[in-house]
Structure formats: C-alpha cells, structure tokens
Amino acid sequence: MSEHRTDTERKSGGHHSVVVKSLLAVVGMLAFVFVGLVPMYNLICEWTGVTGRTTGASEVQNFVVAEDRPIKVQFLATNNADMPWEFRPMVKQVTAKPGELVQVNFYARNKTRRDMTAQAIPSLSPFESTPYFHKTECFCFNQQPLAAGEDVEMGLVFQIDPDLPDWVRTISLSYTLYDITEQQEVASAKP
C-alpha cells in the first residue's frame, strides 16, 4: 500500500521529522533521569539538608563558643534489617555549646563468625539543623570492616555552628548501620 500516492500523504516527509524529534525527546528524557534528576535530587538534599543526611568532613573552625546556649545532642544507633552487629552510642546524650568541639564514641561488635564490612549512614533531626552540624571526624566517612568477633570504638567529632536557628534546642543524630559485605565483594560501592 505504500505505493499509494494520495493528497494526504504529501506531508509524509514530515513523518521523518516527527520521529526524529520524538526520539530525541525520548533520549533526552532518559538522559535527564540519569544525569539530571538523580544529581539534582542529591544536590537539593545537600543544600537544604532535607533528608537530614550530613555530608563529608568539615575543617575545624574557630567559632566563638556560645556559652549561654546549651544544645542537647542525642545519639541513636539502629541496625538495618539483617545487620547482626551490636551497635550503640557509648553516651546517649551530651550537652554541646555552639562552637565547641565535642567528641563522642560509638561501639560496634561483629557478633558473627564471619568477617564483615559495615557502613553507617547518618540522619539528623530536625533536618533544618543539618547545614549547621559540622562533623570534623566521623566513622561514617569510612566503611568499617570487622573480623569475626572483633569490636571497635568509633569516634565522632563535631562542632555546632553558632548560626544554628534559635528555635533548635535539641538535635538527634541517628546512625543506621548497613551490612555491605556483599557489595564489597561484588564491586566497591561508592559511599
């Protein structure tokens, strides 16, 4: 039937352009999902701190310590689904003044009979305080391997920015510990 030439087919040269433009749109949208949406999401989370995920290490800064403003900082440790380790903060709560450097420790023990690797993922609440919570050292920056039965005290050093919004009196920092032994074996996951 393609040899039919009727008036309506006179624009059929236009089909080519519709197909090409549409396919470009399809490829464009696919690219947008991978190189647009995903990085955009991560950037937005970082800028606003919405997910409460604190990012990379900060330098120690010389803030003026706000002596008159004690902030309660609470620590939580959770094991993700099948994670069999013992994992807990060594102190549940500290009082930190904005500007001062505070060090706390978390305890982890591999209760199993096999060598494993874990990754802790932080989350801060209220999330509005995320940009003001600077970690200068944290076990969450690295993966934590533990041989069977081994245990470790893992350090966290942080500093609260004195610009922290006034209404924040308490900050809860929670860590979830994930078993990444398998991912370690398959490929090196990027934290």
Partner: protein
C-alpha cells in the same frame, strides 16, 4: 465508497486471509481491533486477580490465600489493569478512530504500528509467567517502591523489569505514530482547531507518553542496576536514597494517571453532544483545559509523597499545585453539563456510560481534592480512601469511557447494532456494582483500614463484605459485556452508516462497517456538514 475513487493498485484491497492477516497487518483498523481485544483479555485477567483479592477480603481472617500470594495479586492486578487493560484500550481506540476522524487513509507509520502492538503480548506473557516462578510474582505493589522491589524483591523482578521496558517501548512507538498521524495526515481543511476532541486529547496524551515513558524506563533500569550491578541509586547503605525512587516514580506516575484519563475526556466529549443533540459547549476551552491539565501534571507528583518528610514549603507547593488541577478539570465538567443543559437528550447505552462518567469521575475528583490537602493526607495516605479515590477515577472514569466508546463505535466497526436492552442491562449492573464495590471503601479508609493487606480488624468487616459483593457483581457483569460484543459481531442487526442522529464527525460519513480502506482520497472537510463548528 473508495473503490471508485482510485485507478491503480487494486491488489491489496481485502484483508489477507487467516492468521497472517493479523500477524503482518499494517492496517490501522486491524491493529486497533487487536489492541482492543488484547486489552479486553487483560481486563479479564486483571479482573480475575481482583476477584481473588475481594474474595479474600470478604471476611476478616485468612481464608483463601496466603499473604504472600495476596501481595502478588494486588501487584499484578494493578500492573495489568494500568498497562495491559486501560492503556492498550485507548491506543486501540486511537488506531481505529483517529485516521477516520481526521480523514487520513491510515496511521502515519503502519509498520511501526504493527510492531508496537505485537511486542505487547510478549511483555504480558513474560509478566504473567512470573506467577509460576520460584519466589512468585512481583509482590511489591504496582508502584514498586524500592527497597521492596530491589533488596527484598523476589527473583522474578528481573522479568518484571524487562516486561516494563517492552511496554514502555510499545507505548512510545504508539505515541510517536499518533503524533505523526495527527500532525501530518489531516485531510485538507481539517485545521487543528477543527479536530474532534478525542484527537486533541490523544495528541496531548501522546506528548505526555513521549515525555514520561522514558522516566519509567529509567527508574526500572536503575532498579536493574541496583539489583544486578552493585550500584546504589536507591540503597541508603551505598549512598543512595529510597526516597529518590519515589520522586522518580511519581514524576512518571502522576502524568501516567492523566495518560489514562485524557483520552476518556475526548470520548465523553464526542458522545455527550451526540445524544444531547447539541454542539459541545466550549470547544476551545476544552482544548486549553486539556493542555493545562497536561502541563500541571508535571508539577504535582509529590502529592503522593506528603508523608515521606518533605519540608513545609514543599508540602504547601505540591498541595496548591494539585488543587490547581481542579480548575481546568472543573472547566471540563462544567462544559459537559452545559452541553447537556436543554439538549434533547436520549439515553442509549453509550450516553448512559458517558453521563455516569461525568458524575462518578467528579466524585473521584473530589476525593482527590481531599487527598490533596497535605495535613489531611497524613491521615488518609495508604488507607482504603486512596483506593476508593483512584478506583473512582479509573473504573467509572477511564473504564466506563472505554465501554461508552465501544458501544458508540461498535456499529461503525462491525456494521452491526448491539442489543440496546442488553447494553442497558450491562450498564445498570456495572453502575450498581461499581458503586457498591468502591463507595464503602471511602468509609473503610476514613475509619483507618490500611490498603494492601489480606486481613483486617473486625470493625471493618461489614463494609468489606458489601464491597466484595459489589465486586463480584461488577466482575460478573463484564462477562455480559463480552457476550454483548460477540453477539453483536456474529448476530447483530445491520447498522446504518450513522446510527446516532446527533453524532458528528467524519467517521460517520463512511459506510458501516467501515471499509478496510477509508479516505484514500481525502474528504472535502469544508463540505462535510457535520463539522460546522460554530466557533471562532
């Protein structure tokens, strides 16, 4: 009518004989027919799964199936209805009707048309086969949230992913074809603002498909990579985020729900004027309303995610943007009602379904507005209220519009008239069934019954039993629908070229059944009296 109008190449006129006709066909009517039958088969399959769900929920406690299997049923029901029943039905209608409505001899890209249909049965065979696999079928809901669909998924998830890829490819090809047909193949004189609304709504739907099907393909590809290649898009341990999944999914998902309703708007806009014997009120406002709904559908996705922890401003933005959609939607409902106002209406089966669409779809729109109120949604989210909402817009909405379309155009397709009494019986059974089935689910949701559970607390028992009875009634009525259609095709009375007095449009200017090839010579639009639209 066509035989006299051209002078060469008569060899191809009839359809080929036997199975090869259907395998190799590039004829838009054949392909439309196959899409419609395929969709009906999927409707029955998805419906069977729904019957299992309603049977289990007939009483509290676990009666018939295990929770694992129940989850597979809800998942497969949703996937098959959305991607197998509703979407292919609209594509089938587009194939049949768009060329006839704009005076084109066929779709723009007939061979691609054949391909986009024939990959579908493979996709759904693959999806359905997961039911027999070790670990069972996908069980993570039709929204397949990670990590349920990644870390905790059954092994069959890979087949699910490939099936979705194929469906996506099919939809994209179908959409490109429709855009090319509408932009390039209109008969001389068929300007854009003269196109029937069904053509307009499909043009806009096709753009939506081209824009968001790649997003769906992208999100399942990320799942595939997380599952098999050690990436961590959605895996918090590796630096990803499960919430990211929801954003990407709903960036596809909300436009998707409009993909399932815009063509329905087009159908209803064809049927109501025909049986009210008046022109459609506000044609151009309908076009603009459709376009604005399509645009808005890209900026409201997070109304599905109010409870994941979005900052206050975000909640407010998505809440207001969502409510804004009610404005163009309201324009449409107003226009349909005004079209009927003081019309000389008759209520043949297509009109019954269309009027019912307007009323019940509006109920679904209102419950949508309730859900759009972010603080209220904290209460309603993931309850049966949401189930009631989207079933109201999808069943007496999208599905009824498809049934209306079948009754309306079946005489044109088959050349036979359906039995009006049986059609009305089918309508009333479906109407009663659908309301008994879904209305009580509003109450269940408000009372706190969560969705996607096989068992429930005792206080929900009565409404669940009522809902199940409605479900069985609705399900059984669709067998009557099958009977009516088959009976029409084999034993219906011959239909006139234009069986409905008030019907407008080029499709009624060809004989019934529509000849295998129509409009090989473009019709003269300016002489076609049906198209005298008194609009600027």
């Amino acid at each position: 009518m066509t035989t006299a109008t051209h002078d060469h190449d008569h060899a191809h006129h009839g359809p080929a004989k036997g199975i090869t006709r259907w395998l190799y066909t590039t004829n838009h009517k054949d392909i439309g027919t196959m899409y419609l039958w395929f969709s009906f088969a999927m409707f029955l399959l998805g419906g069977t799964f729904a019957m299992v769900i309603r049977a289990e929920l007939f009483q509290p406690g676990l009666q018939l199936v295990q929770p694992e299997f129940f989850n597979q049923m809800t998942t497969m029901h949703g996937l098959i209805m959305v991607f197998g029943a509703v979407m292919p039905a609209f594509v089938g209608l587009a194939n049949w009707m768009i060329p006839m409505m704009i005076g084109a001899p066929d779709m723009a890209l007939p061979r691609m048309n054949n391909l986009s249909f024939w990959i579908l049965p493979f996709a759904f065979a693959m999806l359905a086969s997961t039911l027999f696999m070790e670990g069972g079928a996908p069980n993570f809901g039709w929204t397949f949230y990670a990590p349920l669909s990644t870390t905790y998924a059954p092994p069959s998830v890979t087949f699910f992913i490939f099936a979705v890829h194929i469906m996506g490819a099919s939809s994209i090809m179908g959409a490109i074809n429709i855009v090319a047909t509408i932009l390039n193949m209109r008969a001389p004189g068929m300007t854009l603002m003269r196109m029937p609304l069904f053509v307009w709504t499909w043009l806009i739907t096709a753009y939506l498909l081209i824009a968001v099907m790649p997003v769906l393909a992208g999100v399942v590809t990320m799942m595939l990579m997380d599952i098999h290649f050690g990436t961590a898009f959605f895996n918090a341990a590796g630096g990803g985020s499960p919430v990211l999944f929801q954003h990407v999914f709903w960036f596809f998902g909300h436009p998707e729900v409009y993909i399932m309703i815009l063509p329905a708007f087009g159908i209803v806009s064809a049927i109501i004027p025909a049986f009210a014997r008046k022109q459609l009120f506000g044609y151009s406002s309908m076009v603009y309303a459709t376009a604005s709904i399509a645009f808005l559908s890209f900026i409201v996705w997070a109304h599905h995610m109010f409870t994941v922890g979005i900052p206050f401003l975000g909640e407010a933005f998505f809440m207001w943007a969502t409510m804004l959609i009610a404005v163009p939607t309201g324009v449409k409902v107003f226009n349909w009602v005004t079209t009927m106002f003081r019309g000389s209406m008759t209520f043949e089966t297509p009109m019954l379904f269309a009027v019912c669409f307007v009323v019940l779809f509006t109920i679904g729109g209102f419950s949508g507005l309730m859900l759009a109120v972010a603080p209220a949604d904290f209460q309603y989210h993931d309850t049966y209220f949401v189930v009631a909402h989207f079933h109201y817009v999808l069943v007496p909405g999208a599905v009824f519009s498809i049934m209306a379309a079948v009754y309306y155009w079946l005489p044109k397709w088959s050349g036979k008239m359906y039995n009006e009494t049986l059609g009305k019986v089918h309508f009333w059974l479906s109407f009663v069934g659908v309301n008994v089935l879904f209305f009580p689910q509003h109450f269940l949701g408000l009372a706190g019954m969560p969705r996607r559970i096989p068992d429930y607390a005792l206080q929900f028992a009565d409404f669940n039993m009522i809902s199940s009875i409605g479900g069985f009634l609705f399900g059984a009525s669709q067998l009557l629908f099958l009977y009516i259609v088959v009976h029409t095709i084999v034993a219906g009375k011959p239909a006139k070229a234009k069986p409905w007095d008030g019907a407008e449009g080029l499709e009624w200017s060809v004989p019934s059944p529509a000849p295998y090839h129509t409009f090989e010579t473009p019709p003269d639009i300016d002489k076609a009296p049906q198209l005298d639209r008194k609009e600027p």
